[in-house]
């Protein structure tokens, strides 16, 4: 027990990690900066609850942002940068899921839903017309019945 307490105390004493922002120069080039901002919103901060890199101050997020800047400055394109991160952290790091056989249904879901419900709507429209004729028939029947009644009464 005492060792744990000691360890914890020790932990708090040295827990102020070095600020990564020190060595962290954002690209000067406005085009690179824009790409940096767009990309840092596209990647997940893996240690956070559910945040992208841009919005996170976690150590890992900072390291990854520094890496991101260096990759950009090394002239890598967006696709290469994505591949770099996916090779290390898997697809989990991407907020925009890749299009492959496993995610086909995900990306097609809106289209499938639109087509299915669209079909239902078409059926409703057709049925709407059918009830129109059906009711007309009912009216004819009612008219005929009324006629019959009249004849009987007279």
């Amino acid at each position: 027990m005492r060792r744990v307490v000691k360890a914890l105390l020790f932990l708090f004493l040295i827990a102020s990690p070095a600020w990564a922002i020190d060595s962290f120069q954002l690209p000067e080039d406005p085009q690179l900066l824009a790409r940096y901002q767009a990309l840092s919103e596209e990647f997940r901060c893996l240690v956070c609850q559910n945040q992208n890199l841009a919005d996170s101050n976690a150590e890992l997020a900072k390291d990854l942002k520094i890496e991101l800047v260096e990759l950009l400055q090394a002239g890598k394109n967006d696709e290469q940068i994505r591949e770099f991160l996916v090779a290390r952290y898997g697809d989990f790091v991407l907020y925009r899921p890749p299009v492959n056989s496993a995610t086909a249904f995900l990306w097609l879901a809106p289209l499938i839903a639109v087509s299915v419900l669209g079909l239902v709507v078409l059926m409703l429209w057709r049925r709407g017309r059918q009830t129109e004729t059906a009711t007309a028939n009912d009216e004819q029947v009612a008219a005929a019945l009324a006629d019959l009644k009249k004849q009987k009464n007279s």
């Binding site: 744990v4 360890a7 914890l8 020790f10 932990l11 040295i14 827990a15 990690p17 070095a18 990564a20 893996l46 240690v47 150590e59 890992l60 390291d63 990854l64 520094i66 890496e67 996916v86 090779a87 290390r88 952290y89 898997g90 989990f92």
Partner: protein, 178 residues
């Protein structure tokens, strides 16, 4: 009639999925590195910053690659287990990240040093190459330098006995003796 059953099918699917979801851990992320050679590195050691070790130097026998830091409470939890494994002759390589050299050395002086060698990565570069998310993480690497397994979080005795030890034994018997 069939179309009135459809909503039921939909509900059943949804409930099954959600029930299955309850048994899953959303925080557990599998490593894409499994089955791949370890990332290339040449890193200074904790004991001697002038002395560098590369991934090639570690080839030849299987080892556990344990990522840790002195400020990480879970690493303290795991430390005694690593000590016992080392006593049993398990080959453990350490990677100390985001740390101060003095702090890391102090930890090993106090709690014992289970590592054959501790590598140091204080600029976060190697950590990214290994896809480390949070300390501690432990990789099982075979004699050819291929990553076979990754454990996230502190290793418990149960983890060791049921999962990691059998894999390690298998790698040992398959490893070139010499």
């Amino acid at each position: 009639m069939k179309r009135f059953i459809l909503p039921f099918v939909f509900l059943a699917g949804l409930v099954t999925l959600l029930a299955a979801g309850l048994g899953l851990n959303p925080r557990e992320v599998p490593s894409p590195l499994i089955g791949k050679p370890v990332p290339e590195f040449t890193l200074p050691t904790l004991a001697d910053p002038e002395f560098r070790v590369s991934d090639r130097d570690l080839k030849g026998q299987p080892y556990l690659f344990n990522v840790w830091a002195s400020w990480c409470p879970t690493c303290y939890q795991e430390h005694p287990l690593l000590m016992q494994l080392a006593e049993r002759g398990v080959n453990i390589v350490g990677l100390n990240i985001e740390d101060e050299r003095a702090d890391a050395i102090a930890v090993l002086e106090k709690g014992g040093d289970p590592y054959r060698v501790v590598l140091v990565d204080y600029d976060g570069r190697s950590r990214i190459d290994w896809g480390v998310i949070a300390t501690p993480e432990t990789f099982l690497v075979d004699a050819n330098g291929v990553i076979q397994y990754k454990h996230t979080g502190a290793i418990t005795w149960q983890d060791w006995a049921e999962v990691i030890a059998p894999k390690y034994q298998q790698l040992l018997t398959g490893a070139p003796r010499g």
